[in-house]
């Protein structure tokens, strides 16, 4: 009896200890984002103090050796490349996902789906290499510019967005699709009005997922986008995204005053953009879901 009781206490104790540990791990992981934010803010503070924020964000003059730090060209570079990737990738991914979920024969889906998942795992340098190879194909070279970066990024993002949205589309209950077909809607109308609408939150999540990846991508873009510190005015102009700025200059900036602080500010800007993007998507979703609930 005595032994049984002490064993019981032991198990109870183990359970409590495990719970504590799990709690600590969870709090640690959740606070990593905060730590990163604080760390970057502290390190970029010198430049934020020395220059007004509006000058940093909206000046186009980038000349660290003269103490001029205008991030405008880099912010625009990031937005142009990501935006173009989205314009190319979104219709292709969503249409493909709809086809795979609603139209494709089982055999096609069984073949394409694992291939997409595999492609989603391919490292970005490989996409970058392909970009360089494709750019150097004789005759049809488009040069190192926003277009090249956008295409490479789009191709990187497509497997992720397609695969996740296909899964979301497939969770739409059969009943409501059949209800739509029964009242005379065509398959496309059903896909458009019923499937798409019912899975909007999930699709939005898939898009945010894909975009976060496009947005923070460094190596693949760096290799094909040209890296000229001027805000692009068309897709044929070269660009210089924030991520490439950090990767190209970090490590050799120690001798120039404020330079390291400026580069960490670039990292902070990226972090804030990701944060805004995620929170905005969440709020929009919560709103959509409330309207339909």
């Amino acid at each position: 009896m005595e032994k049984g009781l002490s064993r019981l206490i032991g198990r109870r104790w183990a359970d409590l200890a495990a719970t504590r540990l799990m709690f600590v791990a969870t709090v640690f992981v959740a606070s990593v984002a905060v730590f990163i934010g604080i760390g970057l803010l502290l390190k970029s503070w010198p430049i934020l103090e020395a220059r007004p924020l509006s000058e940093l964000l909206f000046s186009s003059v980038w000349c660290p050796s003269r103490g001029e730090f205008g991030f405008y060209p880099f912010i625009m570079g990031t937005l142009w490349v990501t935006g173009l990737a989205g314009i190319i990738a979104l219709p292709l991914s969503l249409l493909s996902a709809l086809y795979l979920a609603e139209y494709a024969p089982n055999k096609v889906r069984a073949l394409v789906k694992p291939a997409l998942d595999l492609l989603a795992g391919i490292p970005s340098v490989v996409y970058g290499i392909w970009g360089i190879l494709a750019l150097s194909l004789g005759g049809i070279s488009i040069g190192f510019n926003v277009l090249a970066g956008g295409i490479v990024l789009a191709i990187m993002v497509i497997p992720v967005v397609t695969s996740v949205s296909e899964e979301v589309f497939r969770t739409v209950p059969r009943d409501i699709k059949e209800a739509s077909l029964a009242v005379g809607a065509t398959r496309w109308e059903t896909a458009k009005h019923v499937v798409m609408r019912a899975s909007l939150p999930g699709v939005a999540a898939a898009v945010v997922l894909g975009f976060s990846r496009a947005f923070g991508e460094t190596m693949a873009v760096l290799m094909v986008v040209g890296n000229v510190a001027r805000a692009p005015s068309s897709v044929m102009d070269p660009a210089y995204p924030l991520t490439a700025l950090i990767a190209n200059n970090y490590g050799e900036m120690m001798s120039v005053p404020l330079y390291d602080s400026a580069l960490l500010l670039a990292a902070l800007v990226l972090l804030v953009m990701v944060l805004v993007f995620n929170v905005a998507a969440r709020l929009a979703l919560a709103r959509v879901q409330r309207r339909w609930a």
Binding site: R11, R12, D15, A18, T19, M22, A25, T26, F28, V29, A30, V32, A33, I36, L92, S93, L95, S96, L98, Y99, L100, Y103, A104, A115, L116, L119, G121, I122, P123, S124, V125, V126, Y127, I129, W130, L133, I155, I158, T186, R187, W188, L209, S212, F215, G216, E217, T218, M219, T243, I246, A247, Y250, G251, L263, L264, L270, V274, L275, N278, R282
Partner: protein, 283 residues
């Protein structure tokens, strides 16, 4: 009626066209990289470290980068696993209780997921400067761990959530504690999914270059301690591609093939493993 039929036909064409474009482009990509890489790939690439003048096109291989990448990715995946599994288990209802806290943690994980790897790299570098560390295997592993945690924890969370309440209730009814249920019932039930999550994170870790650019360094030797700098495949590709010598650039393509093969093996392994382990699952 005619208009609706037409719309149907047009969109069906568009959909088929997009699938063909997507699959076509992605296949061409793989084929092109392999096509360019295979001719330069020989045994010395994977059995030797760079010899003198390797980066001028003389002999040697990239064994340093292959081994380095494996060290980095395995170290990071093990660490991330040890941290992510408790987090994913804790996010379930019987532990966390309040849905709002769970939502907050998931939001944090999503934000971490979205943080560009170069930002992890820069952050890691600040910390290492602060601690007075040089670029090293340890630094690389820690930064990659941070990068992998959100991927792994979220993927595990998704599969663990699918465990039915009935199964857990059955375990509780027999007198098992929450942690016993978590380890012996829940974890076993979703073991295939958990391993897939780990391998997914491993794949991301081994392929990431930006986060280890400043934190792991680069060297021609295979590291012998955690504090040595370490080479990695993605960076090997990147640096070789940056040289002006065609022979070295060819080797960058060959290195890309090696990286692709590793990723492919992981993917196959994860499929086989999940099939194998599915036998413990209660249907």
């Amino acid at each position: 009626m005619g208009r609706r039929k037409m719309e149907e036909a047009i969109f069906k064409c568009l959909m088929v066209a997009s699938v063909v474009i997507v699959v076509g482009v992605l296949l061409t990509m793989i084929v092109m990289v392999i096509w360019r890489g295979l001719p330069a790939l020989d045994l010395s690439m994977i059995t030797q470290t760079p010899k003198g003048g390797y980066y001028l096109g003389r002999e040697g291989g990239i064994l340093n980068a292959i081994v380095g990448s494996l060290y980095l990715a395995i170290g990071a995946t093990v660490l991330a696993f040890v941290i992510s599994l408790p987090v994913a288990l804790f996010l379930q209802r019987e532990y966390i209780g309040r849905a709002r806290f769970a939502g907050l943690v998931r939001l944090c994980l999503d934000i971490l997921w979205g943080i560009p790897s170069i930002v992890y790299g820069a952050f890691g570098f600040i910390i290492m400067l602060y601690l007075g560390m040089r670029a090293s295997l340890l630094g690389g592993i820690v930064v990659l761990t941070l990068l992998e945690i959100p991927i792994m924890a979220r993927a595990m969370d998704e599969v663990i959530r699918t465990v039915s309440a009935d199964l857990k209730d059955a375990s509780y009814a027999l007198g098992a504690t929450r942690s016993e249920t978590a380890v012996k019932v829940v974890t076993r039930q979703v073991l295939p999914g958990i391993l897939t999550a780990a391998l997914l994170a491993f794949g991301r870790g081994i392929g990431d270059a930006a986060s280890i650019l400043f934190t792991a360094g680069y060297t021609d030797r295979i590291p012998t301690s955690l504090l040595d700098p370490v080479a990695s495949l993605p960076l090997a590709i990147f640096f070789q591609l940056g040289t002006p010598f065609p022979e070295v650039r060819e080797r960058a393509y060959a290195s890309a093939v090696i990286l692709l093969v590793i990723i492919l093996l992981i993917s196959i392994a994860s499929r086989l493993l999940s099939r194998r382990l599915a036998k413990h699952v209660v249907k």
